[in-house]
C-alpha cells in the first residue's frame, strides 16, 4: 500500500510542470553558472556571510542584543534552507523510485522499498560528503551556542565564500590540477620537517644546553626554518644544530621555490581559459555584437572602424601573434579556430551576435567559416573577404550576404582617383562622414506624416534635404523610370514629384546631420501621434 502510494507520488512529480519549474528556478538560483539570477544571489550571499562573520567576531567579547541574535538566526535559517535546497537539487529522488519500479515490473521481481530508500540515502550522503557541502554544514555549526568550541568553525563560514567567488574556485581548480606534483612535494617536505625536527631535537636537547624541550618545539622550529620565516625564538646553539639549520634552510628554499613555480605554471596554463571566460562573460552582456574572424590587416582595420563607431565586437583568431595584438589593443579576443562549431556557438552566433565578418587572408578558411556560420544561424549577416575573383561566387553560394575583394576595391579607388578626383573625394567624404553632410536612409513608417504623400508635398528642399532616391520593394512603384535593381528591392533614382511614398519605403537623403535627425524625429512623432507604437 505504502509502496503504491510512493510510486504514484513519484509519477505525479515526474508529470508535474509546477514541480519541474520550481526545481528549474532553484537550479538557476543556486547552481546554473550561466544564469544571471545566480550571480545576483551570490553577491547577496557574500555580503551576508561577511556580515555574519563580523557579527560572530564581535560576539567574542560582547553579548548579542536582540536584533543581532535575530539577524544570526535569520542567517542560519537561510544557510539551512540553502543547504537543504542544494541537497534536493543534487539528484531526482522520484527518478530513482521510478527507475527501480520499472525495472522490477519488467523483471517481474518484487519492488523493494528498503533497497530504493538505501539508494536514495546513498546519493544524499554522497552529496553531504562533497567538499563544498561539508563546508556549508560546518558554516552552520558555529551558531550552536551550547558548544563554545564550535566557534572555531567560524573559519568555515569564510570558506563558504568559495562557493560564491569564481576566482577562488579557480584557485582550487589549479591546485587540484597539479595535485600529483604537490602531493609529492608535500611528502618530501614532510620528510624534511621530520628529519630536521629529529636532528634538532637530538642536538639541541636541554641536556646539550639547547632550547628544544620536546618534539613539538622541534617540529615547530623545523617548519619555521624550512619556510625561511625564522622567528628566532628558538635558535640552535650547538654546531650540530647549526649544521641541521643550514641544511634545512637550503633544502627548504629549493622545495619552496619548486612549489611556487608549479603553482605559477599552473596559473599560466589556466590564464588562457580565464581570459576566454572573461570574454564570454562580457559578450553575454552585449546584444547585437559583431564577430570578426581573422585579425590580419583587414581584420585590424575593421576592428578600429567598429571601435570608432562604438560598436561591440569580438575577434576570433587561431594565431597567437594576432590574438596577442588584438588583446594589446584592448579588444575582446577568443584565441581559437573560428571554423570550429563550438567556438562560434560559444561566441554567441546563435543568439546575441548580429553579424559575422570573415576577414582571414585565406579564401578556403573564409568559405569554411561562412558555411559554418550560415549553418549555425540562417538569419545572421555574413560579410566575407575574397582574395581571388574565382572564389567570390563560392562565397556567395556558401551563404555570404556580401563579398569584398580588397584589391578590386583598391583598384577601383585608384581608377576613380585618377579619373575624377573631386567627385571621388566628395563621395568618400560622405561615406566616411568626415564632412557635416551625410547620406542617410529614412524609413516611411506606416501611418506617419509622409505615408501616402507625394514627393512634391514632402517638400524636402524646405527641410534643407536633398532626395537622391527611394529604395522600395513595393511593386506599386514599378511604373516609375530610373529603376535600378538592388538585391531584393529597387532603387528609384531622382523620383519625379508625383512619386507617392508607401509604408516601408526608404528615402535616401543627403543633408546635414541635424536636418536629417530633425526630419526623422518628425516622422516618428507623427506616427506616435496617430496612435501607432514606435
Amino acid at each position: 500500500m505504502l509502496t503504491r502510494l510512493i510510486v504514484n507520488f513519484a509519477c505525479l512529480l515526474k508529470a508535474s510542470t509546477n514541480y519541474r519549474n520550481t526545481k528549474l528556478f532553484f537550479y538557476n538560483l543556486l547552481e546554473n553558472p550561466e544564469s544571471r539570477i545566480k550571480s545576483n544571489f551570490n553577491v547577496v550571499m557574500i555580503c551576508l556571510v561577511l556580515s555574519s562573520v563580523f557579527l560572530l567576531i564581535y560576539e567574542v567579547d560582547t553579548q548579542f542584543t536582540g536584533i543581532e541574535r535575530l539577524f544570526e538566526y535569520f542567517l542560519v535559517t537561510l544557510f539551512i534552507i540553502e543547504y537543504l535546497l542544494r541537497a534536493w537539487l543534487y539528484n531526482d529522488v522520484h527518478k530513482i523510485i521510478l527507475e527501480n519500479y520499472e525495472k522490477a515490473e519488467y523483471l517481474n521481481s518484487p519492488f523493494r522499498l528498503g533497497k530504493v530508500v538505501r539508494l536514495i540515502l546513498a546519493k544524499k550522503i554522497e552529496y553531504i560528503f562533497t567538499p563544498l557541502a561539508v563546508i556549508d554544514l560546518l558554516a552552520i555549526l558555529p551558531s550552536y551556542r551550547p558548544v563554545k568550541m564550535l566557534q572555531v568553525l567560524l573559519i568555515f563560514r569564510l570558506l563558504k565564500l568559495l562557493r560564491y567567488f569564481k576566482s577562488l574556485n579557480l584557485f582550487a581548480e589549479i591546485l587540484s590540477s597539479k595535485r600529483f606534483e604537490l602531493y609529492n612535494l608535500i611528502t618530501f617536505l614532510g620528510f624534511l620537517v621530520f628529519i630536521g625536527s629529529t636532528g634538532i631535537y637530538l642536538f639541541e636537547h636541554p641536556t646539550n644546553s639547547g632550547e628544544v624541550g620536546n618534539l613539538f618545539d622541534a617540529a615547530y622550529w623545523a617548519i619555521v626554518t624550512v619556510s625561511s620565516v625564522g622567528y628566532g625564538d628558538i635558535a640552535p646553539k650547538t654546531t650540530g644544530g647549526r649544521l641541521v639549520a643550514m641544511a634545512l634552510i637550503l633544502t627548504g628554499l629549493g622545495v619552496l621555490s619548486f612549489v611556487i613555480s608549479i603553482i605559477v605554471s599552473a596559473f599560466n596554463d589556466k590564464m588562457q581559459d580565464l581570459r576566454e571566460n572573461r570574454t564570454y562573460a562580457e559578450l553575454k552582456r552585449y546584444p547585437g555584437f559583431v564577430i570578426i574572424c581573422g585579425f590580419g590587416r583587414v581584420g585590424l582595420h575593421i576592428a578600429s572602424q567598429l571601435e570608432k563607431h562604438r560598436q561591440r565586437f569580438v575577434v576570433i583568431d587561431s594565431e597567437e601573434v594576432n590574438a596577442l595584438k588584438a588583446r594589446r589593443l584592448g579588444y575582446l579576443v577568443i584565441h581559437a579556430d573560428a571554423s570550429k562549431y563550438e567556438v562560434l556557438i560559444n561566441a554567441g552566433i546563435r543568439n546575441r551576435a548580429a553579424a559575422v565578418l570573415c576577414a582571414t587572408g585565406d579564401d578556403v578558411v573564409n568559405v569554411y567559416i561562412t558555411l559554418t556560420s550560415r549553418h549555425l544561424n540562417p538569419a545572421i549577416r555574413i560579410i566575407s573577404r575574397a582574395n581571388s575573383q574565382d572564389n567570390v561566387k563560392k562565397l556567395y553560394q556558401a551563404g555570404a550576404d556580401n563579398v569584398i575583394q580588397p584589391f578590386e576595391i583598391a583598384a577601383m579607388v585608384v581608377a576613380e582617383y585618377i579619373g575624377q578626383p573631386v567627385a571621388f573625394e566628395a563621395i568618400l567624404g560622405i561615406i566616411r562622414e568626415e564632412k557635416q553632410i551625410i547620406m542617410e536612409t529614412l524609413i516611411v513608417h506606416s501611418g506617419s506624416v509622409i505615408d501616402g504623400i507625394s514627393i512634391f508635398n514632402v517638400d524636402l528642399e524646405q527641410r534643407k534635404l536633398m532626395l537622391v532616391g527611394v529604395i522600395s520593394a513595393n511593386p506599386v512603384h514599378r511604373k516609375h523610370k530610373n529603376r535600378y535593381k538592388l538585391k531584393n528591392e529597387h532603387f528609384y533614382f531622382n523620383p519625379d514629384p508625383n512619386f507617392v511614398l508607401q509604408a516601408g519605403d526608404l528615402l535616401v537623403v543627403l543633408g546635414r546631420v541635424i536636418a536629417i535627425d530633425y526630419f526623422r524625429d518628425q516622422i516618428e512623432k507623427s506616427r506616435i501621434g496617430n496612435g501607432l507604437k514606435p
Partner: protein, 231 residues
C-alpha cells in the same frame, strides 16, 4: 590622352589597368623581367622591361617627358619608396600613386613625394564596416562610384564661355531638366573645397568651377556636352 606607367606585377596592377578606360589613358606596364611582361601582354597591355633603380632607364620610358602618372605597385614598401623618390626627383609635376603594405610606410612615401597612398587593407576594412553599418547607402554609392549600374558620379568643369557662366547654382534645376542630382560645387574663387549643394549658400558659377553630379551615364554625357559647348 594621359600617359600612365604601372610599376610592379600584382593583382592590383592588373585590376587597375583593366578598370582604366583605354580611350582616355595610354597605359604601359613596367616589368622587371620577361615573364612579368609576357603575363601582362597576354591581357592585352603594352609592357616594357627596365630596372627602376636606374634613373636613365626611368627617363627612357618617358618619366620627365610624356608620362603624366605613375603607379608604384611593388609588393615591397622599400621598392615603392625608392621609385617614388627617384621619379619625383626627375619630374616635379608627375602624379604618383603608391600602394602601401605596412601603414607606417605611408608617411615615408608621402615624404618621398607620392601624391596618393592606397592601403588596400584599410580600404577593405572600411568598406566592410560601411557594408555592415549602412548597407543601403553603401550599395547605392558603390553603384554610383564604381559604376556597377548605369548610375555614375561625375565631375564637370565649366569652361570659359559656357552657358552656365554667371548662373546661380540653385537655378540649375538639374533634377527636372536633366534627370541629374547636383551633389556639390567646387567654387574656385573660394578654394579647392567642395560645397555641397544642400543647405549651403548658393554660389554664382564661373569658368573653372567644378560641378559634381550624380545620374545615369547618358544624361551625364548630354549635360556635359551642353556645358562644354562654348557659346
Amino acid at each position: 590622352m594621359k600617359r600612365i606607367a604601372v610599376f610592379g606585377y600584382s593583382i592590383m596592377s592588373l585590376e587597375v589597368m583593366s578598370r582604366l578606360n583605354e580611350d582616355q589613358y595610354s597605359l604601359v606596364f613596367i616589368g622587371q623581367d620577361e615573364s612579368e611582361a609576357a603575363l601582362v601582354e597576354e591581357k592585352g597591355f603594352a609592357s616594357k622591361i627596365i630596372d627602376f633603380r636606374n634613373d636613365d632607364e626611368l627617363r627612357s620610358i618617358g618619366i620627365g617627358a610624356d608620362i603624366d602618372i605613375i603607379f608604384c605597385f611593388y609588393p615591397k614598401d622599400s621598392d615603392n619608396v625608392f621609385l617614388t623618390f627617384s621619379a619625383r626627383a626627375i619630374d616635379k609635376a608627375l602624379t604618383i600613386v603608391a600602394i602601401v603594405d605596412d601603414p607606417e610606410s605611408a608617411e615615408i612615401l608621402l615624404a618621398a613625394g607620392a601624391n596618393k597612398i592606397i592601403d588596400p587593407y584599410e580600404i577593405c576594412g572600411r568598406k566592410t564596416h560601411d557594408m555592415l553599418a549602412k548597407p543601403d547607402i553603401t550599395n547605392i554609392l558603390d553603384a554610383a562610384v564604381f559604376g556597377r549600374h548605369d548610375l555614375h558620379i561625375a565631375q564637370i568643369e565649366i569652361p570659359e564661355g559656357s552657358y552656365l557662366e554667371n548662373t546661380r547654382s540653385c537655378d540649375l534645376k538639374l533634377g527636372e531638366k536633366y534627370n541629374l542630382i547636383l551633389i556639390g560645387v567646387v567654387d574656385r574663387e573660394s578654394g579647392e573645397a567642395l560645397h555641397f549643394a544642400v543647405g549651403e549658400k548658393e554660389c554664382t558659377l564661373n569658368a573653372g568651377d567644378v560641378l559634381v553630379v550624380l545620374g545615369p551615364s547618358r544624361e551625364i554625357s548630354s549635360f556635359k556636352e551642353e556645358v562644354e559647348a562654348v557659346l
